[in-house]
């Protein structure tokens, strides 16, 4: 079928797609009439916050609905095949062969029981596209094109023996195994560090271009989609907001919602002047620590002052969270010590006094797992207030209400709710209230916004900022997201492989000259410019040649 307007061949046509999801016993619409037209070799970016229905739509393009979901209306036409009318077997014959899928977390989506090669060969062999021997040769070729190290040998490893970024590339190679006409990329780089993300993005882009494969690229990250997609469709709560080609969309978004998504990155709080003379609230002195015989932290030093935010940045495995464990006394360092208000803290939390414990609180990345699902908010927030401050009865109740007010949740409406009755952002607010309930001087925020949508994350950052001014709090802000660092930090500590490679006031950190590693981190943060990735790769190639 030719598209008369553009002259390109249409591959996928979705019209008026509605999908229903079941919660308890009732079905409600989660995708409300979405249209998609995708041409051969074209990449369409689907973007939106969680709950926008991006993944659900992506899967529907394969004629697939997850358990608890059903496609309830509209048409899905893939290259002349009506996917809704097709039988189960007809749909199954398409999946993996003509339409392939790349999942968000390759680490979870590769079967831990089988070697990469067995999983690669499964689709081509089972669909009768190639023999096992051909598929193996082909795999090595694709691994090489995806720039995986040791392409001849890597297929014979199990998933747990391969790093996250390599697995993501191996999964893209696997999706390519039958040379499909269409690949659904479902947030393929969301779980990766920025430096790894670049390698995966460029590998995906090259291979999609080489085989002229059409793709639906799903992400919540605008800067990423700007690098990958020819056209962008913005979704909100199961409905299309607007669609345009990438450059138009970035330059002149029409709708207010799109503009608000674009605006998030501009939030920044005023920088506080550096403190030099006062005694720091927390001082980490020459800490070396690790598990077993391995040192995760190697001679770490940094200070955190009252009313200041120190952002600790680094990739996964750099030792950020281990540093937090040492400060909280969960891990006893081999060398060095932690001072609180100038006084050394016992290295083991069991030997710290209740007051010492009260002074340092934590907020966690996954509010879902950090809150006991069986307790109501009254108990979740009340317990620390009761345990550390000895509040009882009316005083306790007043305190809980006061805290809910502080985190901008209406006390009467929320005090008797369970965590399952809250949204992700609200859960994280409860995590904040629970930390505040102890009336600490110092709070460790461990990737508190990484699991949240940008708009929600911004709300959390603003709240933390306001609370800091109000209660003179000192924050240690652990993150791998440099945009967050830009918006909230006063000082920055950059960590790599358990060492501090650079530290100082934020303004200095974001100005050259940088330590080479900081430079790599900074340059790896995707920018909204659609030419950013191409330019960056070219620059790096030039530098490598020079």
């Amino acid at each position: 079928m030719k598209d008369t307007a553009t002259g390109k061949t249409v591959l996928l046509t979705i019209r008026g797609l509605t999908i229903e999801g079941r919660s308890d016993e009732t079905w409600s619409e989660i995708v409300k009439g979405v249209d998609i037209t995708l041409h051969k070799g074209e990449v369409l970016g689907l973007i939106g916050e969680s709950g926008a229905g991006k993944s659900t739509i992506g899967l529907a393009a394969m004629g697939f609905a997850r358990d608890g979901c059903r496609i309830s209306g509209g048409t899905i036409d893939f290259d002349g095949i009506d996917l809704r009318a097709a039988t189960k077997d007809e749909r199954r014959a398409l999946r993996g062969k003509r339409i392939a899928y790349v999942a968000q977390s390759a680490a979870a989506s590769f079967n831990p029981a089988h070697r990469l090669m067995d999983q690669y060969c499964e689709a081509p062999v089972q669909h009768g596209v190639m023999s096992r021997a051909e598929a193996e040769r082909d795999a090595v070729e694709l691994y090489r094109r995806m720039q995986l190290p040791n392409p001849d040998e890597i297929g014979f490893r199990y998933p747990h023996q391969v790093s996250g970024g390599q697995l993501q590339r191996a999964m893209t190679a696997m999706a390519m195994s039958c040379r499909p006409d269409l690949i659904i990329f479902d947030e393929p780089t969301t779980a990766l560090d920025v430096t790894t993300q670049i390698e995966v993005l460029s590998a995906i882009r090259d291979i999609v271009a080489q085989f002229d494969t059409a793709a639906i690229y799903i992400t919540h990250d605008l800067a990423v989609v700007a690098q990958m997609a020819d056209r962008i469709k913005v979704l909100l709560k199961g409905e299309e907001v607007e669609e345009a080609d990438t450059r138009t969309m970035l330059a002149t978004p029409r709708e207010d919602y799109t503009k608000s998504l674009w605006a998030v990155r501009s939030y920044a709080r005023p920088v506080q002047p550096p403190v030099t003379d006062a005694v720091p609230v927390v001082s980490v002195r020459g800490v070396t620590a690790g598990y077993g015989a391995v040192d995760i932290l190697k001679n770490i030093n940094f200070d955190i002052h009252r009313r200041r935010t120190v952002a600790v940045v680094g990739e996964s495995g750099s030792g950020k969270s281990t540093a937090a464990r040492v400060i909280t006394g969960l891990l006893t360092p081999r060398q060095g010590e932690v001072l609180f208000d100038g006084e050394p803290l016992p290295s083991d939390y069991r030997r710290r006094s209740r007051d010492q414990l009260r002074q340092a609180q934590m907020i966690y990345q996954m509010a879902d797992t950090a809150l006991n699902p069986k307790l109501r908010l009254r108990e979740l927030i009340g317990r620390p207030a009761q345990m550390y401050l000895g509040l009882q009865g009316k005083a306790l109740s007043e305190r809980i209400r006061g805290l809910l007010d502080l985190i901008e949740l209406e006390p009467d409406a929320y005090i008797d709710r369970l965590p399952s009755e809250l949204s992700g952002g609200q859960k994280q607010r409860i995590g904040i209230a629970r930390a505040l309930a102890a009336e600490p001087q110092f709070i460790i925020c461990d990737e508190v916004t990484s699991a949240l949508d940008q708009l929600v994350a911004e709300g959390i950052l603003k709240l933390l900022d306001r609370l800091q001014s109000e209660f003179e709090l000192a924050y240690m802000f652990i993150t791998h997201d440099l945009a967050t660092v830009k918006s909230i930090a006063d000082e920055v500590v950059v960590m790599q492989n358990g060492r501090v490679v650079e530290q100082g006031p934020k303004d200095e950190m974001f100005q050259p000259p940088h330590d080479p590693y900081t430079e790599l981190l900074l340059s790896s943060v995707p920018e909204m410019d659609p030419d950013w990735l191409t330019r960056l790769l070219q620059e790096r190639r030039n530098k490598a040649e020079a």
Partner: protein, 317 residues
């Protein structure tokens, strides 16, 4: 690979230690029973002299720890002493019975394990269908009735008509196929008793995995439902399945007293019960030790196999 051997060696050492502790408990338990063994055997009419002589003959005049050491070293060399009831060496007495018990256990396992795994996998594949419900209901029904009741029902339907013998008489001269025929009903009874547990565990372990991203991935690669279960879910569900299979195998060896009695089958369970009622303590001790060893060994085997089924433990980074 050397990690695995170290793990196996550690588990073996731990198993041996467990058995040693159990042997102490078994020995002390029989020691704590009231009454004098020699008196009990010789009866109230025996003169103090004959009792004393008998005690010397049995070594009962020695202190307890010395008797324990002698007993343990004997047992390690396969010499469990002599039966008080009929003066025969216990090793001879047991070896025949142990062979019978193992024969029946293996026979039942050969039916029960494939049956319950197949049913469990099919129930997971067709979950919440009529087949799933029927398989679950039948398995639960058979496990809910006492063993002797299941046995009598089978006798009523299959032995009354003369299809199978109701008495499972075997002796060393019985041929293999004949033995299979004679012991069919007890094997079937045991199968019905153990299937439910293994089947439900298999079903639950597999269903538990069906929500994982790699199962969704397999489906999105267009794999057939049976292949998704067999190739993608089962290998990851092996550890819990192996554990429950091992527990049931151990039960087949040590827990079959009732079935042996109903079918008059000369196994270890019957010997144990007889010896308890005859106060034949050396035999009771020996059988208890064998039962304990069966449990420890099967669980050890299950641990090792579970570990081997997990590539993360076999192939380190």
């Amino acid at each position: 690979m050397s990690d695995i051997w170290i793990m196996i060696a550690k588990r073996l050492a731990l198993g041996a230690l467990t058995l040693l502790v159990i042997s102490v408990i078994i020995f002390s338990a029989t020691e704590l029973l009231p009454g004098d063994l020699a008196q009990a055997v010789l009866g109230q009419s025996a003169t103090p002299e004959t009792v004393a002589a008998f005690r010397r003959e049995l070594g009962l005049d020695l202190p307890a720890y010395q008797r324990y050491v002698n007993w343990l070293f004997g047992a390690l060399q396969g010499d469990f002493g002599t039966s008080l009831a009929n003066k025969r060496p216990i090793a001879d007495l047991i070896s025949l019975r142990l062979g019978n018990t193992l024969f029946l256990a293996v026979y039942a396992a050969f039916i029960a394990v494939p049956l319950s795994l197949t049913l469990g996998i099919l129930a997971a594949l067709f979950r919440n269908t009529v087949f799933d419900r029927a398989a679950n209901a039948m398995a639960l029904t058979s496990i809910s009735f006492p063993e002797f009741f299941v046995a009598y029902i089978l006798i009523f339907f299959l032995a009354q008509s003369g299809l199978f013998p109701s008495m499972a008489r075997v002796d060393p001269s019985t041929g293999f196929t004949e033995a299979l025929y004679h012991t069919f009903l007890p094997a079937l009874t045991l199968t019905l008793v153990v299937t439910a547990h293994m089947m439900r565990m298999t079903r639950a372990a597999i269903i538990n995995l069906l929500a994982s991203p790699y199962i969704e991935m397999a489906r999105l690669k267009g794999m057939k439902p049976m292949r998704v279960i067999w190739r993608h879910a089962v290998p990851n569900a092996l550890a819990p399945i192996i554990t429950v299979v091992a527990l049931n195998l151990a039960y087949l060896i040590t827990g079959v007293v009732v079935v042996e009695v109903v079918f008059v089958y000369p196994g270890l369970g019957q010997l144990m019960v007889d010896s308890v009622s005859k106060r034949d303590f050396p035999v009771v001790q020996a059988v208890a030790l064998i039962f304990a060893a069966a449990y420890v060994l099967l669980n050890l085997l299950a641990d090792v196999l579970s570990t081997l089924s997990n590539p993360r433990l076999v192939h380190r980074k």
